[in-house]
């Protein structure tokens, strides 16, 4: 198997006396969709926070392309091409989709105007339009505030934005939770398309059929530990649920 892109070994994370992670491991390879599943409180969100730089683990090691890695902040992860789609979207509702996509990464006009901080709105709008079209976020107009869009469109913008900047890996925390059938299919489409471009996708979801249909691999967390790893093509919903609840354990998983 190829060298893992991102690997976590025996991560621990304590919040006071609460052990959210008790030696959790995790692996993501380039160009694969790997789902991270587990019951509520299994440590999925904490693990993703540690892997995306939002939180710092109490113990354990992170490897990126085989090299040891310390993530001090989300910016560190971003610099490596690691992006996150948060459950609560985190968009600026009063700004338009293009402004949101380029937020914190604005394109400035060339020359003196750019030196003065003048934005090149036209270039940003153009690139954003192309990008949204490519990733199937159909928007009637590119310059209305995000708040004027429907929930599903807002979600598509949030997904498209993260995907736009993720050159190596993208975490998606329940990206389809609030979506209708059509929108959900579209997000799953985006996930596959991103994977096909060689970017690793880590999907967190409670929807088992969805997990099986889109993933290449599945890793299961229980009580802050990895308890099982499956190839999506060789497993079933029953097996996944068994691993999540503790009815089934694999010896070599941890």
């Amino acid at each position: 198997m190829s060298q893992p892109l991102l690997e976590a070994r025996d991560l621990t994370k304590n919040y006071g006396t609460v052990e959210a992670l008790r030696g959790a491991s995790f692996t993501a390879h380039p160009g694969e969709v790997v789902s991270l599943i587990g019951d509520n409180g299994a440590g999925k969100s904490t693990l993703v926070k540690c892997l995306s730089g939002v939180e710092q683990p109490t113990g354990g090691t992170l490897l990126f392309d085989g090299e040891p890695l310390v993530l001090g902040s989300p910016n560190d992860a971003r610099d490596l091409g690691i992006e996150t789609v948060f459950q609560d979207l985190a968009v600026a509702p009063d700004l338009d989709p293009a402004a949101n996509m380029f937020l914190g990464r604005e394109i400035l006009k060339p020359g003196l105007l750019g030196f003065l901080g003048v934005l090149d709105k036209k270039a940003m709008r153009k690139q954003a339009t192309e990008h949204f079209t490519r990733f199937g976020a159909t928007l009637q107009s590119i310059d209305v505030p995000i708040a004027a869009l429907s929930g599903g469109q807002r979600q598509s913008v949030a997904v498209a934005r993260s995907v736009a900047w993720a050159s190596k890996l993208v975490f998606m925390d329940e990206p389809t939770a609030a979506l209708g059938v059509v929108q959900r299919e579209r997000v799953l489409d985006v996930i596959k398309r991103v994977r096909d471009e060689g970017v690793a996708v880590v999907l967190i979801s409670h929807n088992m059929p969805e997990v099986l249909s889109v993933s290449d691999r599945v890793e299961v967390l229980r009580l802050g530990r990895r308890v099982a790893r499956f190839k999506a093509s060789e497993t079933s919903v029953e097996e996944l649920v068994g691993a999540m609840t503790g009815a089934l354990t694999q010896e070599d998983a941890a």
């Binding site: 600026a92 914190g104 310059d143 708040a147 900047w165």
Partner: protein
């Protein structure tokens, strides 16, 4: 992935037409209200309203408030508030007048440009220091803006009174008053030109630059701004610094116009500036607004006041009329937001 994105010449097909965007903006409607007011007063007493001196006075009197309101626009777009601008103005005005007197041996009345420039520097820097203090307390110490600026509202006023034992400072250079205070260029008071330039720069800063974009983003969703790597604390500090600096400049303009640094009469400047900004369509909840709207918002109360006097209505009606328009403006903003967020 940007590198991969090809720069083909895709037309702006998704772009809403310019007319549609203009019609959808609050700014247009506020501007119409102002126009209707001017037209109404003008129709009743055209002889008195469209007089050069009337208009000159109206503009000159509002110039100082306009500069304060430009800074306030930035603050309110970040969903903050600055109650201290009037007191900072007084402090800057007193400090600047005293500094000019001090370097001219006690009376700066006949002082030259060097002294005037020094006075300007003192006004702007003292305004900036108050603004920086506000900004640091709000962004670093995490004290609500309402409380921080309520504190500096009292403190700056008190400090101004302490500086000169509670009295006004005279001795403003004649040269300053003749040129910037009462001088005109092509019939436009120079003080108005200064205010117009400041306003235009403020409008450009807000609508075309990264600084402006971050101002909107911080006010719209602070957490989202933080997650994309914007330094929210740094940005908030800069915005309050800007408001303080403009208040300092406004203090200097006041000196030039009134030929004296007055320690009273600015207690409600803060509320007038907030009212102007909100009237102009900037949301008190942050995230939206414009400097152009603020310009309209500054002139609506001023036109009402002047107009009511000219047509012989008791001017005591002015605050009542402004209050109605103000509450109606916020109510409209609320309704729009609710309608929008229901989707």
């Amino acid at each position: 992935m940007t590198e991969k994105t090809t720069m083909s010449s895709l037309p702006d097909e998704h772009r809403t037409s310019f007319l549609k965007r203009v019609a959808g903006a609050n700014t247009l409607w506020i501007g119409l209200v102002l126009l209707v007011l001017v037209a109404t007063f003008g129709a009743i007493r055209p002889d008195a309203v469209f007089q050069v001196t009337t208009l000159q006075f109206l503009l000159a009197e509002t110039a100082v408030l306009l500069v304060l309101s430009v800074g306030m626009t930035f603050v309110i777009i970040t969903s903050g508030i600055d109650l201290s601008v009037g007191s900072v103005l007084v402090f800057a005005s007193v400090a600047s007048a005293m500094a000019m007197n001090a370097v001219s041996g006690g009376d700066a009345t006949n002082a030259g440009w060097g002294v005037i420039a020094f006075g300007l520097l003192v006004a702007v820097v003292s305004g900036a220091v108050w603004g920086l203090l506000n900004g640091l307390l709000i962004s670093r110490a995490k004290i609500p803006a309402l409380i921080v600026t309520l504190g500096s509202f009292g403190a700056a006023q008190g400090a101004a009174l302490l500086l000169n034992n509670g009295s006004n400072v005279s001795g403003i250079p004649d040269r300053l008053n003749r040129t910037f205070g009462s001088g005109t260029y092509l019939g436009i008071p120079n003080i108005v030109i200064v205010a117009a330039v400041v306003t235009a720069l403020g409008a450009l800063l807000l609508s075309t630059t990264r600084f402006g974009r971050y101002t909107y983003a911080v006010g719209s969703n602070e957490e989202a701004a933080r997650r994309v790597g914007i330094s929210v604390r740094g940005h908030l500090t800069k915005v309050y610094l800007l408001a303080g600096t403009l208040a300092g400049l406004a203090g200097f303009m006041g000196n030039a116009f009134f030929r004296v640094a007055v320690v009273t009469g600015h207690e409600t400047d803060n509320l007038n500036a907030i009212a102007a900004v909100v009237l102009g369509g900037t949301s008190i909840f942050g995230g939206t607004g414009s400097v152009l709207g603020t310009v309209f918002g500054v002139f609506i109360p001023a036109v009402l006041e002047k107009g009511l006097v000219i047509i012989g209505v008791k001017e005591f009606w002015q605050p009542i009329a402004v209050a109605i328009v103000l509450v109606a403006a916020v109510w409209l903003d609320q309704t729009r937001r609710r309608a929008r967020n229901q989707r």
